[in-house]
Amino acid sequence: MEKPVIATTSLAGCFGCHMSLLDIDERILELIELVDFNKSPINDIKTFTRECDIGLIEGGCCLDENVHVLEDFRKHCRILVSVGECAIMGGLPAMRNGIPIRECLEEAYLNGPTVRYTNNEKIMPNDEELPIMLDRVYPCHEVVKIDYFLPGCPPRADLIWNALTALINNREMDLPYEVFKFD
């Protein structure tokens, strides 16, 4: 039987969830026996080269680019998992939700204490190469259908392991209490 294929990405996240995935320690050797990795920052494969079984999404959608990547994942992955608070509810980047985007940008580039006296030309980055910020940060399931959710900031390595092995072996995740956390 062919091995299941996993893809991962970090949208508006801090890479903490990916770190937590690596935090399964020596079980990583077991994991590479069990699965193949496709598009992922872990192996630096930048575009999908085949259809995948499981897509792990870290981070919510803060930029138009995040939406494109997320839609691409939905297209290529049979099962999508929101991994971590940012993917599930926006996380700390969503602290800007409710504040108009102009106000955010002005605070970051014009009025904040570290820029007020240094950004004398009052520059706000506006290159067409830059992805465009969305009006607010969107949880992933508000953009595409998400099949499973693993809470935590980051989700504990044991929770990720529990969920991944359940998905790979077609059994139900048990979400043990000691590793089911929102922080």
């Binding site: 509810m89 700390l92 504040i99 900031c153 922080d183």
Partner: protein
């Protein structure tokens, strides 16, 4: 002594004094019914609806309904559990609950209930309301993003004349908790500590305090909320 009566919770026989509220009677019988607004020793409010149980097929809040002889109470059933979970989900989307940066995380009753019911994601869309943090009081900081309007602080924190130091300001979706300016200096250190303790969430925090207990040693890190009661069985 008032009359002892017998009733059942999920088929198990329990005893209590006549006139006891169901939630209190359940506690006395080591039966956990979840609640966010109820506080032992303080008159009940029926604000959060988490303690909803079924009696004769009807839903009632167990904190405000008195137990009667022969009453048959259903508390643990998949329908009720889903109803309670949906209340939690509404509370999570209605405010801004950024648990990873919250001082109460690990010891928060709202979060602990969400753990108990294994809430992974709310079924409702997030509101992301714009709310502020009020740090005008010399002893406490109020984070309106986290307040669930349970009124525990209003009901439990009183000055020596029995007046509530906390009060509600505004109405409807704009309701928020505030310290009555006339009574602000009545909030002693002890009362401030008590307010922090009884607030089920991280909406009232002590100035200069926070993240005291390391991760792994906080109230609900290892044991689900309610298990203290359930383990006494």
């Amino acid at each position: 002594m008032s009359k002892q009566i017998t009733f059942t919770i999920d088929g198990e026989t329990c005893k209590a004094e006549e006139g006891t509220y169901i939630l209190d009677a359940a506690r006395k019988n080591n039966k956990y019914i979840p609640t966010l607004c109820n506080l032992e020793g303080i008159p009940p409010k029926g604000a959060c609806r988490m303690c909803t149980v079924k009696i004769n097929g009807k839903l009632v809040t167990s904190c405000t309904t008195r137990v009667t002889d022969g009453m048959q109470i259903e508390s643990e059933d998949p329908g009720l559990d889903d109803l309670r979970k949906s209340i939690l989900e509404m509370l999570f989307v209605e405010g801004n609950h950024l648990c990873p940066s919250c001082e109460k995380s690990g010891s928060c009753e709202l979060q602990a209930l969400a753990y108990r019911y294994r809430m992974t994601v709310p079924r409702y869309p997030f509101f992301f309301p714009r709310r502020n943090i009020d740090s005008t009081h010399p002893k406490i900081i109020k984070d309106h993003n986290r307040c669930i309007l349970c009124k525990r602080c209003i009901r439990a924190i009183k000055d020596q004349n029995g007046k509530s130091i906390f009060a509600f300001l505004n109405r409807g979706h704009h309701t928020k908790i505030y310290v009555d300016p006339d009574l602000a200096d009545k909030l002693t250190d002890e009362l401030a500590d008590r307010a922090v303790e009884i607030c089920p969430v991280g909406a009232i925090m002590k100035r200069g305090d926070g993240f005291k207990d390391p991760i792994g040693e906080r109230k609900y890190d290892k044991q689900p909320i309610g298990s203290e009661l359930e383990q006494q069985l």
